[in-house]
Symmetry: C2
Subunit: 307 residues, 2 copies
Amino acid sequence: MKCRICRAKAAVNLRQHNMALCKEHFLDWIPAQAERFIKKYKMFSHSERILVAVSGGKDSLSLWDILNRLGYQADGLYICLGIDEGIHYSAESQRLAEKFASGRGLKLHVVDIQKEYKEAIPALTIQSRHGRKADCSICGLVKRHEMNRIARDFGYDVLATGHNLDDEAAVLFGNTLHWAGEYLLRQGPLLLGKPGMARKAKPLCRFYEREMLAYALLRGIEYIYDECPLSIGSTSIYYKEMLNHLETDRPGAKLSFYLSFLEARRAGLFIEHSQIQAELHPCPNCGQPTSSSDVCSFCRLVQGQVS
Amino acid sequence: MKCRICRAKAAVNLRQHNMALCKEHFLDWIPAQAERFIKKYKMFSHSERILVAVSGGKDSLSLWDILNRLGYQADGLYICLGIDEGIHYSAESQRLAEKFASGRGLKLHVVDIQKEYKEAIPALTIQSRHGRKADCSICGLVKRHEMNRIARDFGYDVLATGHNLDDEAAVLFGNTLHWAGEYLLRQGPLLLGKPGMARKAKPLCRFYEREMLAYALLRGIEYIYDECPLSIGSTSIYYKEMLNHLETDRPGAKLSFYLSFLEARRAGLFIEHSQIQAELHPCPNCGQPTSSSDVCSFCRLVQGQVS
Protein backbone atom coordinates (compact mmCIF):
# COMPACT_ATOMS: atom_id res chain seq x y z
CA MET A 1 0.00 0.00 0.00
CA LYS A 2 1.08 3.51 -0.80
CA CYS A 3 0.38 6.83 0.89
CA ARG A 4 -2.55 8.51 -0.82
CA ILE A 5 -0.75 11.86 -0.68
CA CYS A 6 2.94 11.21 -1.52
CA ARG A 7 2.83 7.59 -2.86
CA ALA A 8 5.57 6.60 -0.39
CA LYS A 9 5.18 3.32 1.51
CA ALA A 10 2.11 3.62 3.73
CA ALA A 11 2.44 3.23 7.51
CA VAL A 12 -1.27 3.20 8.34
CA ASN A 13 -4.27 1.77 6.49
CA LEU A 14 -7.46 3.63 7.38
CA ARG A 15 -9.82 0.93 6.22
CA GLN A 16 -13.04 2.80 6.96
CA HIS A 17 -11.79 5.84 5.01
CA ASN A 18 -10.47 3.62 2.21
CA MET A 19 -7.18 5.48 2.54
CA ALA A 20 -3.58 4.65 3.46
CA LEU A 21 -1.03 7.20 4.65
CA CYS A 22 2.71 7.30 5.33
CA LYS A 23 3.93 8.18 8.81
CA GLU A 24 4.49 11.85 8.00
CA HIS A 25 1.12 12.43 6.38
CA PHE A 26 -0.73 10.41 9.03
CA LEU A 27 0.86 12.58 11.75
CA ASP A 28 -0.39 15.65 9.84
CA TRP A 29 -3.80 14.16 9.10
CA ILE A 30 -4.80 13.43 12.71
CA PRO A 31 -4.34 17.01 14.03
CA ALA A 32 -5.96 18.44 10.88
CA GLN A 33 -8.99 16.20 11.39
CA ALA A 34 -9.08 17.07 15.09
CA GLU A 35 -9.11 20.77 14.18
CA ARG A 36 -11.98 20.10 11.81
CA PHE A 37 -13.99 18.36 14.56
CA ILE A 38 -13.21 21.14 17.08
CA LYS A 39 -14.61 23.71 14.65
CA LYS A 40 -17.51 21.58 13.42
CA TYR A 41 -18.84 20.97 16.92
CA LYS A 42 -17.87 24.50 18.13
CA MET A 43 -15.84 23.04 20.98
CA PHE A 44 -13.52 25.95 21.80
CA SER A 45 -11.45 28.75 20.28
CA HIS A 46 -7.78 29.69 20.38
CA SER A 47 -8.52 32.45 22.88
CA GLU A 48 -9.96 30.07 25.46
CA ARG A 49 -8.10 28.23 28.21
CA ILE A 50 -8.43 24.48 28.01
CA LEU A 51 -7.90 21.89 30.74
CA VAL A 52 -7.04 18.47 29.33
CA ALA A 53 -7.85 15.50 31.55
CA VAL A 54 -4.69 13.39 31.28
CA SER A 55 -4.65 9.77 32.42
CA GLY A 56 -1.21 8.81 31.12
CA GLY A 57 -2.83 6.68 28.40
CA LYS A 58 -2.44 7.03 24.65
CA ASP A 59 -5.66 8.96 24.02
CA SER A 60 -5.33 11.75 26.53
CA LEU A 61 -1.60 12.31 25.98
CA SER A 62 -2.17 12.35 22.21
CA LEU A 63 -4.99 14.84 22.68
CA TRP A 64 -2.73 17.11 24.71
CA ASP A 65 -0.03 16.77 22.04
CA ILE A 66 -2.50 17.59 19.27
CA LEU A 67 -4.02 20.61 21.01
CA ASN A 68 -0.59 22.08 21.62
CA ARG A 69 0.48 21.46 18.02
CA LEU A 70 -2.68 23.23 16.90
CA GLY A 71 -1.70 26.23 19.04
CA TYR A 72 -4.41 25.91 21.70
CA GLN A 73 -3.75 27.01 25.30
CA ALA A 74 -4.04 23.60 26.92
CA ASP A 75 -2.88 22.71 30.41
CA GLY A 76 -3.12 19.21 31.84
CA LEU A 77 -4.83 17.69 34.86
CA TYR A 78 -3.69 14.37 36.28
CA ILE A 79 -5.95 12.79 38.90
CA CYS A 80 -4.12 10.20 40.98
CA LEU A 81 -6.71 7.52 41.74
CA GLY A 82 -4.41 5.44 43.96
CA ILE A 83 -4.79 2.21 41.96
CA ASP A 84 -1.86 -0.14 42.34
CA GLU A 85 -3.09 -3.76 41.88
CA GLY A 86 0.47 -5.02 41.80
CA ILE A 87 1.40 -3.13 38.64
CA HIS A 88 1.81 0.37 40.15
CA TYR A 89 -0.89 1.52 37.76
CA SER A 90 -1.48 5.02 39.11
CA ALA A 91 2.18 5.67 39.99
CA GLU A 92 3.31 4.69 36.51
CA SER A 93 0.52 6.69 34.85
CA GLN A 94 1.49 9.76 36.85
CA ARG A 95 5.18 9.35 36.01
CA LEU A 96 4.36 9.24 32.29
CA ALA A 97 2.00 12.21 32.45
CA GLU A 98 4.62 14.25 34.32
CA LYS A 99 7.37 13.18 31.93
CA PHE A 100 5.22 14.23 28.96
CA ALA A 101 4.51 17.63 30.52
CA SER A 102 8.05 18.40 31.66
CA GLY A 103 9.57 17.28 28.35
CA ARG A 104 7.41 19.81 26.53
CA GLY A 105 7.35 22.59 29.13
CA LEU A 106 3.60 22.18 29.72
CA LYS A 107 1.70 22.92 32.91
CA LEU A 108 0.23 19.87 34.69
CA HIS A 109 -2.10 20.06 37.68
CA VAL A 110 -1.97 17.00 39.91
CA VAL A 111 -4.76 16.01 42.29
CA ASP A 112 -4.28 13.09 44.66
CA ILE A 113 -7.65 11.64 45.67
CA GLN A 114 -6.29 9.96 48.80
CA LYS A 115 -4.66 13.18 50.03
CA GLU A 116 -7.77 15.22 49.29
CA TYR A 117 -10.41 12.80 50.57
CA LYS A 118 -8.54 10.40 52.90
CA GLU A 119 -9.25 7.34 50.73
CA ALA A 120 -8.19 6.35 47.21
CA ILE A 121 -10.50 4.88 44.55
CA PRO A 122 -10.22 1.20 45.53
CA ALA A 123 -11.36 1.92 49.11
CA LEU A 124 -13.97 4.46 48.01
CA THR A 125 -15.39 1.94 45.56
CA ILE A 126 -15.43 -1.00 47.95
CA GLN A 127 -16.99 1.05 50.70
CA SER A 128 -19.52 2.80 48.48
CA ARG A 129 -23.09 1.58 48.39
CA HIS A 130 -22.29 -0.11 45.08
CA GLY A 131 -20.12 -2.52 47.04
CA ARG A 132 -18.35 -4.07 44.05
CA LYS A 133 -14.65 -3.82 43.50
CA ALA A 134 -14.48 -2.93 39.85
CA ASP A 135 -17.08 -0.23 39.79
CA CYS A 136 -16.16 2.20 37.06
CA SER A 137 -19.19 4.36 37.87
CA ILE A 138 -17.76 5.43 41.26
CA CYS A 139 -14.41 6.26 39.66
CA GLY A 140 -16.20 8.23 36.93
CA LEU A 141 -18.15 10.18 39.52
CA VAL A 142 -14.94 11.11 41.35
CA LYS A 143 -13.07 12.06 38.18
CA ARG A 144 -15.92 14.23 36.87
CA HIS A 145 -16.16 16.03 40.19
CA GLU A 146 -12.44 16.71 40.38
CA MET A 147 -12.18 17.83 36.75
CA ASN A 148 -15.01 20.26 37.34
CA ARG A 149 -13.49 21.49 40.56
CA ILE A 150 -10.08 22.24 39.07
CA ALA A 151 -11.59 23.79 35.94
CA ARG A 152 -13.71 26.09 38.09
CA ASP A 153 -11.03 26.92 40.68
CA PHE A 154 -8.42 27.77 38.05
CA GLY A 155 -10.80 29.52 35.67
CA TYR A 156 -10.57 27.22 32.64
CA ASP A 157 -13.14 27.77 29.90
CA VAL A 158 -13.45 24.17 28.87
CA LEU A 159 -12.52 20.63 29.89
CA ALA A 160 -11.21 18.38 27.12
CA THR A 161 -11.17 14.60 27.46
CA GLY A 162 -9.54 11.96 25.27
CA HIS A 163 -12.63 9.81 24.60
CA ASN A 164 -12.21 8.16 21.21
CA LEU A 165 -14.84 6.69 18.89
CA ASP A 166 -14.62 3.25 20.51
CA ASP A 167 -15.33 4.81 23.92
CA GLU A 168 -18.21 6.88 22.63
CA ALA A 169 -19.76 4.10 20.58
CA ALA A 170 -19.59 1.73 23.56
CA VAL A 171 -21.31 4.26 25.83
CA LEU A 172 -23.94 4.91 23.18
CA PHE A 173 -24.43 1.18 22.70
CA GLY A 174 -24.98 0.63 26.42
CA ASN A 175 -27.37 3.56 26.67
CA THR A 176 -29.24 2.28 23.63
CA LEU A 177 -29.56 -1.29 24.91
CA HIS A 178 -31.32 0.19 27.93
CA TRP A 179 -32.86 3.16 26.10
CA ALA A 180 -31.52 5.41 28.82
CA GLY A 181 -33.25 8.58 27.71
CA GLU A 182 -31.39 11.27 29.60
CA TYR A 183 -27.99 9.81 28.76
CA LEU A 184 -28.92 9.42 25.10
CA LEU A 185 -30.06 13.02 24.90
CA ARG A 186 -26.88 14.50 26.28
CA GLN A 187 -24.13 12.28 24.88
CA GLY A 188 -22.08 14.00 22.24
CA PRO A 189 -18.85 15.70 21.17
CA LEU A 190 -19.73 18.77 23.24
CA LEU A 191 -21.60 19.18 26.52
CA LEU A 192 -22.43 22.80 27.20
CA GLY A 193 -21.43 24.26 30.54
CA LYS A 194 -23.77 25.53 33.21
CA PRO A 195 -23.22 27.42 36.44
CA GLY A 196 -20.60 25.50 38.41
CA MET A 197 -20.08 22.96 35.62
CA ALA A 198 -17.43 23.40 32.93
CA ARG A 199 -18.17 22.90 29.24
CA LYS A 200 -16.85 19.49 28.15
CA ALA A 201 -15.40 18.65 24.77
CA LYS A 202 -14.21 15.40 23.17
CA PRO A 203 -12.04 16.33 20.17
CA LEU A 204 -11.08 12.68 19.49
CA CYS A 205 -14.64 11.34 19.43
CA ARG A 206 -14.53 10.51 15.73
CA PHE A 207 -11.16 8.72 15.75
CA TYR A 208 -11.08 4.94 16.06
CA GLU A 209 -9.06 3.65 19.00
CA ARG A 210 -6.62 2.03 16.59
CA GLU A 211 -6.05 5.41 14.91
CA MET A 212 -5.15 6.96 18.25
CA LEU A 213 -2.92 3.99 19.02
CA ALA A 214 -1.13 4.52 15.71
CA TYR A 215 -0.81 8.24 16.42
CA ALA A 216 0.74 7.72 19.86
CA LEU A 217 3.15 5.09 18.53
CA LEU A 218 4.23 7.02 15.44
CA ARG A 219 4.54 10.27 17.37
CA GLY A 220 6.72 8.49 19.91
CA ILE A 221 4.54 9.35 22.87
CA GLU A 222 5.41 7.27 25.90
CA TYR A 223 2.13 6.14 27.51
CA ILE A 224 0.89 3.46 29.88
CA TYR A 225 0.03 0.31 27.94
CA ASP A 226 -2.09 -1.35 30.59
CA GLU A 227 -5.82 -0.84 30.79
CA CYS A 228 -6.96 0.13 34.27
CA PRO A 229 -6.73 -3.18 36.20
CA LEU A 230 -10.03 -2.44 37.94
CA SER A 231 -11.87 -2.18 34.61
CA ILE A 232 -11.29 -5.81 33.62
CA GLY A 233 -14.63 -7.50 33.10
CA SER A 234 -16.48 -4.20 33.00
CA THR A 235 -19.59 -3.67 30.93
CA SER A 236 -17.93 -1.00 28.79
CA ILE A 237 -15.19 -3.42 27.74
CA TYR A 238 -17.85 -6.03 26.94
CA TYR A 239 -19.71 -3.57 24.69
CA LYS A 240 -16.44 -2.59 23.01
CA GLU A 241 -15.81 -6.22 22.16
CA MET A 242 -19.30 -6.59 20.67
CA LEU A 243 -18.78 -3.50 18.55
CA ASN A 244 -15.35 -4.75 17.48
CA HIS A 245 -16.96 -7.91 16.13
CA LEU A 246 -19.48 -5.81 14.26
CA GLU A 247 -16.74 -3.54 12.90
CA THR A 248 -14.73 -6.54 11.71
CA ASP A 249 -17.71 -7.88 9.76
CA ARG A 250 -18.95 -4.49 8.60
CA PRO A 251 -16.08 -1.96 8.38
CA GLY A 252 -17.27 1.52 9.28
CA ALA A 253 -20.23 0.26 11.35
CA LYS A 254 -18.94 1.83 14.57
CA LEU A 255 -18.46 5.27 13.03
CA SER A 256 -21.78 5.03 11.22
CA PHE A 257 -23.57 4.05 14.46
CA TYR A 258 -22.17 7.08 16.29
CA LEU A 259 -22.52 9.63 13.48
CA SER A 260 -26.01 8.55 12.43
CA PHE A 261 -27.06 8.94 16.08
CA LEU A 262 -25.69 12.50 16.19
CA GLU A 263 -27.37 13.26 12.88
CA ALA A 264 -30.73 11.77 13.93
CA ARG A 265 -30.66 13.84 17.11
CA ARG A 266 -29.70 16.97 15.20
CA ALA A 267 -32.54 16.31 12.75
CA GLY A 268 -34.99 16.16 15.65
CA LEU A 269 -35.69 12.46 16.21
CA PHE A 270 -35.66 12.97 19.97
CA ILE A 271 -37.32 15.47 22.27
CA GLU A 272 -35.11 18.28 23.58
CA HIS A 273 -32.86 17.39 26.51
CA SER A 274 -34.20 20.36 28.46
CA GLN A 275 -37.66 18.74 28.42
CA ILE A 276 -36.59 15.84 30.60
CA GLN A 277 -33.56 17.18 32.48
CA ALA A 278 -34.05 17.31 36.21
CA GLU A 279 -33.75 20.74 37.84
CA LEU A 280 -30.24 21.40 39.12
CA HIS A 281 -29.13 23.41 42.12
CA PRO A 282 -25.72 23.92 43.75
CA CYS A 283 -24.63 21.24 46.21
CA PRO A 284 -24.60 22.90 49.65
CA ASN A 285 -21.22 21.31 50.37
CA CYS A 286 -19.12 21.64 47.20
CA GLY A 287 -21.17 24.03 45.10
CA GLN A 288 -21.28 21.84 42.01
CA PRO A 289 -24.71 21.46 40.36
CA THR A 290 -26.75 18.42 41.41
CA SER A 291 -30.26 17.12 40.86
CA SER A 292 -30.33 15.74 44.40
CA SER A 293 -32.35 17.64 46.97
CA ASP A 294 -29.46 17.26 49.43
CA VAL A 295 -25.67 17.16 48.89
CA CYS A 296 -24.41 15.77 45.58
CA SER A 297 -23.51 12.11 44.96
CA PHE A 298 -19.81 12.89 45.22
CA CYS A 299 -20.13 14.54 48.61
CA ARG A 300 -22.35 11.69 49.83
CA LEU A 301 -19.67 9.23 48.74
CA VAL A 302 -16.84 11.12 50.39
CA GLN A 303 -18.76 11.94 53.56
CA GLY A 304 -19.61 8.26 53.90
CA GLN A 305 -15.88 7.63 53.93
CA VAL A 306 -14.78 10.21 56.46
CA SER A 307 -17.70 10.06 58.89
CA MET B 1 -36.26 -28.64 37.71
CA LYS B 2 -39.89 -28.69 38.67
CA CYS B 3 -42.93 -26.92 37.28
CA ARG B 4 -43.59 -23.76 39.25
CA ILE B 5 -47.31 -24.47 39.25
CA CYS B 6 -47.74 -28.23 39.85
CA ARG B 7 -44.20 -29.30 40.92
CA ALA B 8 -44.18 -32.03 38.25
CA LYS B 9 -41.06 -32.50 36.15
CA ALA B 10 -40.51 -29.32 34.12
CA ALA B 11 -40.45 -29.48 30.33
CA VAL B 12 -39.34 -25.90 29.67
CA ASN B 13 -37.00 -23.61 31.59
CA LEU B 14 -37.85 -19.95 30.99
CA ARG B 15 -34.51 -18.59 32.10
CA GLN B 16 -35.37 -14.90 31.65
CA HIS B 17 -38.53 -15.33 33.74
CA ASN B 18 -36.68 -17.46 36.30
CA MET B 19 -39.45 -20.02 35.92
CA ALA B 20 -39.79 -23.63 34.76
CA LEU B 21 -43.05 -25.22 33.63
CA CYS B 22 -44.30 -28.69 32.78
CA LYS B 23 -45.69 -29.37 29.30
CA GLU B 24 -49.30 -28.86 30.32
CA HIS B 25 -48.76 -25.59 32.16
CA PHE B 26 -46.41 -24.24 29.48
CA LEU B 27 -49.10 -24.92 26.85
CA ASP B 28 -51.55 -22.96 29.03
CA TRP B 29 -49.08 -20.21 29.84
CA ILE B 30 -48.27 -19.21 26.24
CA PRO B 31 -51.88 -18.49 25.15
CA ALA B 32 -52.58 -16.74 28.47
CA GLN B 33 -49.56 -14.50 27.96
CA ALA B 34 -50.55 -13.88 24.34
CA GLU B 35 -54.02 -12.81 25.50
CA ARG B 36 -52.39 -10.45 27.98
CA PHE B 37 -50.27 -8.85 25.22
CA ILE B 38 -53.29 -8.61 22.86
CA LYS B 39 -55.18 -6.68 25.53
CA LYS B 40 -52.22 -4.63 26.77
CA TYR B 41 -51.41 -3.31 23.30
CA LYS B 42 -55.11 -3.08 22.29
CA MET B 43 -54.49 -5.26 19.24
CA PHE B 44 -57.99 -6.53 18.50
CA SER B 45 -61.19 -7.79 20.10
CA HIS B 46 -63.21 -10.99 19.87
CA SER B 47 -65.74 -9.28 17.61
CA GLU B 48 -63.17 -8.43 14.95
CA ARG B 49 -62.13 -10.56 11.97
CA ILE B 50 -58.42 -11.38 11.95
CA LEU B 51 -56.27 -12.46 9.02
CA VAL B 52 -53.19 -14.39 10.17
CA ALA B 53 -50.23 -14.36 7.79
CA VAL B 54 -49.16 -18.02 7.76
CA SER B 55 -45.79 -19.05 6.36
CA GLY B 56 -45.82 -22.70 7.40
CA GLY B 57 -43.19 -21.98 10.05
CA LYS B 58 -43.44 -22.53 13.80
CA ASP B 59 -44.30 -18.94 14.73
CA SER B 60 -47.19 -18.23 12.39
CA LEU B 61 -48.80 -21.67 12.79
CA SER B 62 -48.49 -21.37 16.57
CA LEU B 63 -50.04 -17.91 16.41
CA TRP B 64 -52.97 -19.24 14.43
CA ASP B 65 -53.33 -22.11 16.92
CA ILE B 66 -53.24 -19.71 19.87
CA LEU B 67 -55.74 -17.25 18.42
CA ASN B 68 -58.20 -20.02 17.74
CA ARG B 69 -57.75 -21.48 21.21
CA LEU B 70 -58.43 -18.02 22.62
CA GLY B 71 -61.67 -17.89 20.64
CA TYR B 72 -60.70 -15.24 18.12
CA GLN B 73 -62.12 -15.28 14.57
CA ALA B 74 -58.86 -15.89 12.75
CA ASP B 75 -58.52 -17.02 9.15
CA GLY B 76 -55.17 -17.73 7.50
CA LEU B 77 -53.37 -16.35 4.47
CA TYR B 78 -50.63 -18.32 2.79
CA ILE B 79 -48.59 -16.47 0.17
CA CYS B 80 -46.78 -18.85 -2.17
CA LEU B 81 -43.49 -17.12 -2.97
CA GLY B 82 -42.30 -19.76 -5.43
CA ILE B 83 -39.01 -20.50 -3.65
CA ASP B 84 -37.66 -23.95 -4.34
CA GLU B 85 -33.84 -23.91 -4.07
CA GLY B 86 -33.68 -27.67 -4.25
CA ILE B 87 -35.62 -28.22 -1.03
CA HIS B 88 -39.16 -27.46 -2.34
CA TYR B 89 -39.31 -24.71 0.28
CA SER B 90 -42.54 -23.03 -0.80
CA ALA B 91 -44.31 -26.23 -1.82
CA GLU B 92 -43.54 -27.85 1.53
CA SER B 93 -44.52 -24.72 3.47
CA GLN B 94 -47.83 -24.58 1.63
CA ARG B 95 -48.50 -28.27 2.24
CA LEU B 96 -47.97 -27.80 5.99
CA ALA B 97 -50.11 -24.65 6.14
CA GLU B 98 -52.93 -26.40 4.27
CA LYS B 99 -52.63 -29.50 6.44
CA PHE B 100 -52.83 -27.36 9.58
CA ALA B 101 -55.94 -25.58 8.28
CA SER B 102 -57.80 -28.63 7.01
CA GLY B 103 -57.00 -30.63 10.14
CA ARG B 104 -58.69 -27.94 12.24
CA GLY B 105 -61.42 -26.89 9.82
CA LEU B 106 -59.94 -23.41 9.45
CA LYS B 107 -60.23 -21.15 6.41
CA LEU B 108 -56.96 -20.52 4.54
CA HIS B 109 -56.60 -18.04 1.69
CA VAL B 110 -53.82 -18.92 -0.74
CA VAL B 111 -52.17 -16.39 -3.03
CA ASP B 112 -49.65 -17.57 -5.63
CA ILE B 113 -47.30 -14.73 -6.55
CA GLN B 114 -46.26 -16.28 -9.84
CA LYS B 115 -49.88 -16.79 -10.94
CA GLU B 116 -50.85 -13.27 -9.90
CA TYR B 117 -47.81 -11.39 -11.21
CA LYS B 118 -46.21 -13.71 -13.78
CA GLU B 119 -42.96 -14.09 -11.80
CA ALA B 120 -42.18 -15.64 -8.43
CA ILE B 121 -39.96 -14.09 -5.72
CA PRO B 122 -36.56 -15.38 -6.96
CA ALA B 123 -37.07 -13.82 -10.40
CA LEU B 124 -38.65 -10.64 -9.01
CA THR B 125 -35.71 -10.24 -6.67
CA ILE B 126 -33.00 -10.91 -9.22
CA GLN B 127 -34.58 -8.62 -11.77
CA SER B 128 -35.39 -5.84 -9.31
CA ARG B 129 -33.19 -2.79 -9.10
CA HIS B 130 -31.63 -4.29 -5.96
CA GLY B 131 -30.11 -6.95 -8.17
CA ARG B 132 -29.01 -9.29 -5.40
CA LYS B 133 -30.30 -12.80 -5.04
CA ALA B 134 -31.05 -12.93 -1.34
CA ASP B 135 -32.86 -9.68 -0.97
CA CYS B 136 -35.34 -10.03 1.84
CA SER B 137 -36.53 -6.45 1.36
CA ILE B 138 -38.14 -7.25 -2.02
CA CYS B 139 -39.85 -10.28 -0.56
CA GLY B 140 -41.05 -8.20 2.40
CA LEU B 141 -42.45 -5.58 0.04
CA VAL B 142 -44.39 -8.23 -1.89
CA LYS B 143 -45.71 -9.94 1.24
CA ARG B 144 -46.85 -6.67 2.84
CA HIS B 145 -48.64 -5.67 -0.34
CA GLU B 146 -50.44 -9.00 -0.68
CA MET B 147 -51.39 -9.18 2.99
CA ASN B 148 -52.90 -5.72 2.71
CA ARG B 149 -54.68 -6.57 -0.48
CA ILE B 150 -56.34 -9.70 0.87
CA ALA B 151 -57.21 -8.03 4.17
CA ARG B 152 -58.87 -5.17 2.28
CA ASP B 153 -60.61 -7.28 -0.38
CA PHE B 154 -62.05 -9.70 2.17
CA GLY B 155 -62.89 -7.08 4.77
CA TYR B 156 -60.63 -8.21 7.62
CA ASP B 157 -60.24 -5.79 10.53
CA VAL B 158 -56.66 -6.63 11.33
CA LEU B 159 -53.64 -8.50 10.04
CA ALA B 160 -51.74 -10.62 12.57
CA THR B 161 -48.18 -11.76 11.96
CA GLY B 162 -46.06 -14.26 13.90
CA HIS B 163 -43.05 -12.00 14.56
CA ASN B 164 -41.44 -13.13 17.81
CA LEU B 165 -39.13 -11.23 20.15
CA ASP B 166 -36.00 -12.34 18.30
CA ASP B 167 -37.44 -10.97 15.05
CA GLU B 168 -38.50 -7.70 16.63
CA ALA B 169 -35.28 -7.20 18.56
CA ALA B 170 -33.22 -7.85 15.42
CA VAL B 171 -35.22 -5.30 13.41
CA LEU B 172 -34.93 -2.80 16.25
CA PHE B 173 -31.20 -3.47 16.49
CA GLY B 174 -30.70 -2.84 12.77
CA ASN B 175 -32.79 0.31 12.84
CA THR B 176 -30.86 1.50 15.89
CA LEU B 177 -27.43 0.84 14.38
CA HIS B 178 -28.47 3.18 11.56
CA TRP B 179 -30.74 5.39 13.67
CA ALA B 180 -33.42 4.96 11.03
CA GLY B 181 -35.85 7.48 12.46
CA GLU B 182 -39.07 6.63 10.67
CA TYR B 183 -38.67 2.91 11.23
CA LEU B 184 -37.84 3.43 14.91
CA LEU B 185 -40.91 5.56 15.41
CA ARG B 186 -43.34 3.07 13.97
CA GLN B 187 -41.97 -0.30 15.07
CA GLY B 188 -44.08 -1.94 17.72
CA PRO B 189 -46.62 -4.57 18.73
CA LEU B 190 -49.37 -2.67 16.90
CA LEU B 191 -49.35 -0.53 13.77
CA LEU B 192 -52.58 1.39 13.38
CA GLY B 193 -54.42 1.09 10.09
CA LYS B 194 -55.06 3.89 7.65
CA PRO B 195 -57.18 4.17 4.52
CA GLY B 196 -56.24 1.24 2.28
CA MET B 197 -53.85 -0.22 4.87
CA ALA B 198 -54.92 -2.79 7.45
CA ARG B 199 -54.06 -2.51 11.11
CA LYS B 200 -51.16 -4.85 11.92
CA ALA B 201 -50.63 -6.72 15.17
CA LYS B 202 -47.83 -8.94 16.46
CA PRO B 203 -49.22 -10.93 19.40
CA LEU B 204 -46.01 -12.98 19.78
CA CYS B 205 -43.65 -10.00 19.93
CA ARG B 206 -42.71 -10.61 23.55
CA PHE B 207 -42.01 -14.35 23.24
CA TYR B 208 -38.46 -15.53 22.66
CA GLU B 209 -37.98 -17.62 19.54
CA ARG B 210 -37.05 -20.60 21.71
CA GLU B 211 -40.35 -20.25 23.58
CA MET B 212 -42.26 -20.42 20.30
CA LEU B 213 -40.15 -23.37 19.22
CA ALA B 214 -41.03 -25.16 22.46
CA TYR B 215 -44.70 -24.30 21.99
CA ALA B 216 -44.83 -25.69 18.44
CA LEU B 217 -42.99 -28.85 19.46
CA LEU B 218 -45.01 -29.53 22.61
CA ARG B 219 -48.31 -28.71 20.90
CA GLY B 220 -47.36 -31.16 18.13
CA ILE B 221 -47.69 -28.59 15.35
CA GLU B 222 -46.09 -29.83 12.14
CA TYR B 223 -44.12 -26.93 10.65
CA ILE B 224 -41.33 -26.38 8.17
CA TYR B 225 -37.96 -26.66 9.94
CA ASP B 226 -35.85 -24.94 7.30
CA GLU B 227 -35.23 -21.23 7.34
CA CYS B 228 -35.99 -19.60 4.00
CA PRO B 229 -33.01 -20.68 1.84
CA LEU B 230 -32.81 -17.18 0.33
CA SER B 231 -32.32 -15.59 3.76
CA ILE B 232 -28.99 -17.31 4.45
CA GLY B 233 -26.35 -14.65 5.02
CA SER B 234 -28.95 -11.92 5.45
CA THR B 235 -28.45 -8.93 7.71
CA SER B 236 -31.37 -9.87 9.92
CA ILE B 237 -29.84 -13.28 10.66
CA TYR B 238 -26.53 -11.56 11.43
CA TYR B 239 -28.20 -9.23 13.93
CA LYS B 240 -30.03 -12.17 15.50
CA GLU B 241 -26.71 -13.91 16.05
CA MET B 242 -25.23 -10.79 17.70
CA LEU B 243 -28.23 -10.53 20.00
CA ASN B 244 -28.02 -14.24 20.80
CA HIS B 245 -24.45 -13.74 22.00
CA LEU B 246 -25.62 -10.84 24.14
CA GLU B 247 -28.52 -12.88 25.52
CA THR B 248 -26.21 -15.77 26.39
CA ASP B 249 -23.94 -13.45 28.38
CA ARG B 250 -26.74 -11.36 29.85
CA PRO B 251 -29.99 -13.35 30.10
CA GLY B 252 -32.99 -11.14 29.50
CA ALA B 253 -31.02 -8.54 27.50
CA LYS B 254 -33.05 -9.08 24.34
CA LEU B 255 -36.39 -8.62 26.08
CA SER B 256 -35.08 -5.65 28.03
CA PHE B 257 -33.77 -4.01 24.84
CA TYR B 258 -37.17 -4.31 23.16
CA LEU B 259 -39.35 -3.42 26.15
CA SER B 260 -37.23 -0.49 27.31
CA PHE B 261 -37.47 0.87 23.76
CA LEU B 262 -41.27 0.65 23.82
CA GLU B 263 -41.31 2.24 27.26
CA ALA B 264 -38.94 5.06 26.29
CA ARG B 265 -41.08 5.83 23.25
CA ARG B 266 -44.28 5.71 25.31
CA ALA B 267 -42.67 8.04 27.85
CA GLY B 268 -41.95 10.56 25.09
CA LEU B 269 -38.24 10.14 24.30
CA PHE B 270 -38.93 10.54 20.60
CA ILE B 271 -40.92 13.02 18.58
CA GLU B 272 -44.32 11.85 17.34
CA HIS B 273 -44.30 9.65 14.26
CA SER B 274 -46.82 11.97 12.59
CA GLN B 275 -44.25 14.78 12.70
CA ILE B 276 -41.91 13.04 10.26
CA GLN B 277 -44.19 10.71 8.35
CA ALA B 278 -44.32 11.45 4.65
CA GLU B 279 -47.74 12.31 3.24
CA LEU B 280 -49.47 9.24 1.83
CA HIS B 281 -51.87 8.98 -1.08
CA PRO B 282 -53.45 6.01 -2.87
CA CYS B 283 -51.35 4.35 -5.55
CA PRO B 284 -53.11 5.08 -8.87
CA ASN B 285 -52.63 1.44 -9.86
CA CYS B 286 -53.45 -0.70 -6.81
CA GLY B 287 -55.02 1.83 -4.43
CA GLN B 288 -52.73 1.04 -1.47
CA PRO B 289 -51.25 4.08 0.29
CA THR B 290 -47.81 5.20 -0.86
CA SER B 291 -45.47 8.12 -0.19
CA SER B 292 -44.31 8.02 -3.81
CA SER B 293 -45.64 10.69 -6.14
CA ASP B 294 -46.26 8.01 -8.75
CA VAL B 295 -47.28 4.33 -8.43
CA CYS B 296 -46.18 2.49 -5.27
CA SER B 297 -42.94 0.48 -4.96
CA PHE B 298 -44.80 -2.79 -5.37
CA CYS B 299 -46.44 -1.76 -8.63
CA ARG B 300 -43.12 -0.39 -9.90
CA LEU B 301 -41.53 -3.76 -9.13
CA VAL B 302 -44.26 -5.75 -10.81
CA GLN B 303 -44.60 -3.45 -13.80
CA GLY B 304 -40.87 -3.69 -14.33
CA GLN B 305 -41.39 -7.42 -14.62
CA VAL B 306 -44.28 -7.47 -17.03
CA SER B 307 -43.29 -4.60 -19.30
